[in-house]
């Protein structure tokens, strides 16, 4: 059977490959200004130079990269790429070579790296649970079988990890500084947690719920954290709109003295006070938010949207909560990644096959390059942040 999309993709890939080869540099690289762009449909990633706005290299052979994510080694030399198919690939950003790869499960959703950089953890849908690997060798170190689809895996200070089960709403906290860690299991997180984040101070673990009108907070500074519902009833009992893409919760949620969070099944982002966790406001948005990402420093929040309203980004002013700018980057805006100080943001536009770079003060496009169905963009500065 002729697959028109496949042949188009192939042609585009070949053209792109020639172009990338010209751009490749043999000079030694510092990795501090680099990043990785996921090309979800072709199992490849681009190593990019953030300051030069350039692709340095394409690396292939990483498997099914739909919903792929990346964490970085403590020295930002290596990217650990978590694929949907359970593949964990360790990519050397200095050489562009694959330094190691394991197929650690059948179906995965994301990963994390411990605060000391020694352990890489992967959350799996099937078989449900978390597996932990030595970051140097990718040898298995530990596994925690939850018996359920496992989401919201984050690193927690103190060589710990936290994660949550979709099916039965349990949060698990594992302390890998212990020789034989026994998970602390916190039940009652709520119905169908779909993702979770940890605040950049490592204290607040917030899980979004698909099956309930609200989110759940754990205070990880407590020895025995108790789940606390926040934003309970934010949907006012109204029927959710059909959700064509689950929102994502990421550790860029703090803007000023508030957290900003995507509502599910509603055209809204929700603001809560970062101390009391009480709702302080809402912003009506163009569509159902997928990412609501605070610009580093928190001055603005950039929001992208679920299918079929996913050609748009709205920029919200943190002080007023008002939408101050609407951008139309193109079809299927999947992800936004800010430079570490927030002066620019890179945007993946999947169905245009492009990454666009915006100046966050002027909103002008200052760079762009082709990419094959780009999704996640990850800069190495994440290596030095809790929860990323």
């Amino acid at each position: 059977m002729v697959r028109p999309i496949a042949s188009l993709l192939l042609a585009a890939t070949l053209i792109f490959a020639c172009w990338v080869n010209l751009a490749q540099a043999d000079a030694p690289r510092s990795t501090a200004g680099l990043g990785v762009v996921i090309e979800r449909a072709t199992g490849s990633v681009l190593i990019v130079d953030r300051s030069a706005h350039k692709v340095l290299q394409r690396v292939e052979g990483l498997g099914d990269l739909s919903h792929a994510s990346v964490v970085f080694s403590a020295d930002a030399r290596f990217a650990f790429v978590f694929g949907r198919d359970g593949g964990l690939t360790k990519l050397d950003l200095m050489s562009g070579e694959i330094a190691g790869r394991v197929l650690q499960a059948g179906n995965s959703i994301g990963g994390a790296i411990s605060d000391d950089g020694a352990l890489v953890a992967v959350a799996n849908y099937e078989p449900g649970g978390v597996r932990i690997f030595d970051a140097d060798t990718l040898e298995p170190v530990a596994r925690f079988d939850t018996g359920a689809k496992t989401i919201g895996l984050v690193d927690v200070p103190g060589r710990r990890f936290a994660f949550t089960t979709w099916d039965d709403g349990e949060a698990w906290i594992v302390d890998m500084s212990e020789p034989d860690p026994v998970p602390l299991i916190v039940p009652g997180m709520g119905a169908y947690p779909y993702d979770a984040l940890i605040s950049s101070d490592g204290r607040s673990y917030i899980a979004g719920l698909f099956g309930e009108d609200g989110l759940t907070l754990l205070d990880l500074w407590q020895d025995e954290p108790e789940p606390r519902r926040i934003l309970s009833g934010y949907g006012r009992g109204e029927e959710k709109l059909p959700v064509y893409k689950m929102p994502h919760l990421e550790g860029w949620a703090r803007a000023g003295d508030r957290f900003v969070l995507p509502a599910i099944g509603r055209h809204e982002v929700l603001w809560i006070d970062a101390a009391s966790f009480q709702e302080t406001g809402r912003t009506q948005t163009h569509g159902q938010p997928v990412f609501a990402v605070a610009r580093p420093g928190g001055r603005q929040v950039w929001v992208n949207f679920a299918h079929p309203l996913n050609d748009t980004i709205e920029v919200i002013d943190t002080l007023t909560g008002a939408v101050i700018r609407t951008l139309k980057p193109g079809p299927a805006v999947l992800h936004m990644e800010f430079s570490p100080r927030g002066e620019e943001v890179w945007v993946s536009v999947r169905d245009a096959g492009q990454v666009l770079i915006y100046d966050t003060e002027t909103f002008a496009i200052t760079g762009e390059f082709p990419a094959e169905s780009p999704s996640g963009i990850f800069f190495t500065a994440r290596a030095h942040r809790i929860g990323l």
Binding site: R3, P4, L65, S66, D85, I109, V243, L327, K328
Partner: protein, 103 residues
């Protein structure tokens, strides 16, 4: 307007709304939808994720009409949404056939 550039306009045209050609499914657009948008829950290779396994062999006990109904109406109480608001019957049927026939 820096956002409106020729390359993007072309891409936007390619990704026109599913309802653009009422009653006449556009195979290229629908294949993209299956791979990319269904794929965000069911995986690009359709072997499942938060959503169930949609590979042809796993759907063998379904007929196309039944599958098309699930696509249009969703499965209440699960994350599978009803696609009827943004999809025609003919498009849902095309996707059902595609899922059953394409490895």
């Amino acid at each position: 307007m820096p956002e409106l550039r020729p390359a993007l306009l072309l891409a936007c045209a390619l990704a026109a709304p599913l309802r653009a050609a009422e009653g006449e499914p556009d195979p290229m657009q629908l294949e993209r939808l299956v791979l990319q948008d269904c794929g965000s829950c069911h995986g690009l290779t359709r072997k499942g994720g938060l959503g169930s396994d949609l590979r042809a062999e796993s759907l063998a006990h379904w007929d196309a009409d039944g599958l098309a109904r699930v696509i249009l109406d969703g499965i209440p109480g699960t994350p599978m949404p009803p696609w009827r608001p943004i999809m025609t019957d003919a498009e849902a049927r095309w996707i059902a056939d595609y899922l059953l026939k394409t490895e």
